[in-house]
Symmetry: C2
Subunit: 308 residues, 2 copies
């Protein structure tokens, strides 16, 4: 029986982003938003699990539903305010400072996976409190073919080390950036870091290197996917989430997860990320057609191709 | 008629290298040495053009001749001392400080290309004074199928800007690292930097990003070759020269230079560089068999392969 269900848990938020060339004002953001929009390029049956405040508009929620994303697992708290993040990027766009964070309704978030998605074949645990990630796992029905992906960041290593490690144990695929891979493993070399992270649980370790591409480590065999060289990065926010979305959406659509599918998924994650960073916030992901997405994928193929 | 002749000009030197884990003592070094040893993995007819002092031993010169490299263009100055460089790498191996440089016989180097190699089909201008690079070009006989490659560094941009630009005009392929590409072009983005460098002359711009691989730009079409993920880098010295050697040797052996051959050559350059950095100085290049070289190439193929 067809099961191309993907459950995504993550934040839905208001972001205010300052880059050297622009200020976004208050715009739609959050890991689940980026992941969902990127995953929706694939033929997957997607549900988002998240929480927003009363300040979230129907128009914003419609951006997800118009892409076919089920938001019955998105709790809207009456009288509450949505998670808010404000940040400023440095000149080279590789570093950023957080100027303000307001947890608001996220502080008491108790995720509920919709009944119809508890047997999902792919679960994408977006970057947020590992206690919330664990609560999502606890609600799932058994599915021997399930693939669980996790994204996380240094913040949770500093604050929720034991809980995070316990979640990582239950995960098949981890996506993590290079600095965070070093922090998680205590190694300064990425090959050794990947080996150490394998031992924590995930069979597949994906290390994201931003503009320098992504490395997959599986069974001592590395695979490398380059990022598209871009003339201009407008806003790096959500690139990692878009990567996770492109990857997890593809895996759900495939209904089969092996090394080849994960490599193909990484290319789709890279394509989604390169779309994402070309404009402020989610705007490119929202506007891109499936043809636009395919065009990014084709550029990636040419970038990797000896004979093209 | 078969013409797989490769002329290499560059330094031959004594290096003293200090890494966080080792000190080399005075060992064989220099751009022409690394380029020649790396090029020798290919079926090319190679001549090195360089200068050494009386302190260079026959044993050291034999390391080149044993690989089939013609050293009749290597002048040995009686009573002279060879070029000497001493440097120390920082903890992460990505940066180094020069502790001592003695030009010695290099100060008055007047390169002479052996008669038999003046019709060479491939010329590799290794990193040294662009006045010397120009003198090599001036000695060549016309060959409509000739490919000229150039490697350079920030030092020559600071000291010999006009001469360097004039040499770059005459070059088909430039290999340059990312920071130097930015300095040469005045651009902070690599895509824009490559476009600007194209306009200076080279149809093929190769930007080396060290552990992050190499990007080729040709006709607005980028190609990316990843570096092999390594558990340990013993000594990065000569990695860029080995890259240039693997590339130029392959092109000479091919006797045909087009985008596909250059991409294949970049993979061979990457394989040579990954061999090189696995041991102090030239020792891995000196000891590696053609099987060892092929094994590196196969690892690179697996790193790029979706189905492997």
């Amino acid at each position: 029986m067809k099961n191309n269900k993907l459950v995504i848990v993550g934040t839905m938020a208001f972001d205010e982003i300052i880059t050297p060339s622009a200020e976004s004002g208050k715009i739609l953001g959050g890991a689940a938003t980026y992941i969902g929009l990127a995953a929706a390029f694939a033929d997957a049956d997607i549900a988002a699990v998240s929480v927003v405040g009363e300040d979230f508009t129907e128009e914003q929620l419609n951006l997800l539903t118009e892409r076919g994303i089920d938001i019955s697992g998105v709790e809207q708290v009456r009288g509450g305010k949505s998670f808010y993040w404000k940040g400023r990027y440095h000149d080279n766009m590789n570093k950023r400072d957080t100027l303000d964070t307001q947890l608001n309704v996220l502080a008491d978030f108790n995720p509920v996976v919709p009944e119809a998605y508890r047997d999902a074949s792919v679960v994408m645990l977006g970057n947020l409190d590992p206690n919330v990630q664990q609560k999502v796992l606890d609600q799932l029905l058994p599915n021997p073919n399930r693939t669980v992906l996790l994204d996380t960041m240094n913040f949770w290593m500093d604050l929720q080390w034991d809980t995070l490690l316990n979640v990582i144990k239950q995960v098949d695929i981890i996506t993590i950036n290079d600095e965070e891979a070093m922090q998680l493993s205590g190694e300064t070399n990425l090959v050794l870091a990947a080996k150490a992270i394998h031992k924590m649980g995930p069979a597949y370790v994906i290390i994201k290197k931003g503009e320098h591409g992504a490395l997959l480590f599986y069974n001592d065999q590395p695979f490398f996917a380059p990022a598209l060289p871009l003339e201009k990065v407008e806003d790096p926010t959500g690139a990692g989430d878009s990567f996770a979305g492109g990857l997890s959406g593809y895996l759900a659509a495939q209904q089969k997860v092996d090394a080849k599918a994960i490599k193909e998924g990484i290319l789709r994650g890279t394509a989604a990320a390169s779309l994402c960073v070309g404009a402020m916030g989610t705007s490119n992901l929202v506007q891109a057609s499936s043809e636009d997405f395919l065009a990014q994928l084709q550029k990636l193929e040419r970038l990797r191709n000896i004979t093209a």
